[in-house]
């Protein structure tokens, strides 16, 4: 999705510094002070993780830190909210992945 650079009331935004970061191994451009969720959406990335058990795709839902749906791994720190974390140059972001469900596997193998 594109950024709203021109707004009839808020005016223009320009002169913002660009930073680059990685999401699942791919490099993306963001602007300084942009959250991970905003920067990824601006790059057309909506899917931030899959449900750890069922694998269903998830993106940000509330965008203000309540719902925890946008949690990603940031520089090795898991369960970080993409909607409240500002992108830094060379940040390494990983999407939330499917986790092994040992108990389910045991039940299935029986």
């Amino acid at each position: 999705m594109s950024r709203i650079l021109n707004h009839p009331i808020f005016g223009k935004i320009n002169d913002r510094k660009q930073v680059s970061f990685q999401f699942d191994g791919k490099t993306y451009e963001a602007y300084e002070n942009e959250t991970i969720a905003a920067a990824l959406l601006a790059n057309d990335v909506r899917k931030l993780r899959v449900h750890e058990d069922s694998g269903t795709p998830r993106g940000f839902y509330c965008n203000i830190g309540h719902c925890m749906e946008c949690r990603v791994t940031v520089n090795g720190q898991s369960n970080t909210r993409a909607c409240l974390t500002v992108v830094q140059q060379d940040m390494v972001v990983e999407s939330g992945k499917l986790l092994p469900n040992i108990i389910r596997r045991m039940v299935e193998e029986q």
């Binding site: 058990d53 830190g65 749906e69």
Partner: protein, 90 residues
């Protein structure tokens, strides 16, 4: 046809409307028991998104509950924190 039964109420634990309704009807649960039986509201967000919906289901199946009560207790931590943060040392 609608997809009600399979509609997810608790997003974190993927508990559906159908599961909640049948559990509530079968066990005539309190909100707390419904939560413990289904895991609704016990996922990562701590029920921040689904609490209101779970409360409504309880109201719809238990006639004794008035909307004035807060059926589910709030407990700390109200935000997810790491063990490191909780176990801070000064």
């Amino acid at each position: 046809m609608t997809n009600f039964e399979n509609m997810v109420i608790c997003r974190c634990e993927e508990v559906t409307y159908g599961q909640l309704l049948s559990t509530a009807a079968e066990h005539k649960c309190t909100a707390r028991e419904l939560k413990l039986r289904t895991r609704a509201g016990m996922g990562f967000c701590g029920g921040r998104t689904c609490r209101v919906s779970v409360d409504k289901i309880i109201e719809s199946v238990s006639p004794d509950i008035t909307p004035g009560d807060i059926p589910l207790k709030y407990q700390p931590p109200v935000r997810p924190v790491t063990f490191g943060t909780v176990g801070e040392k000064k």
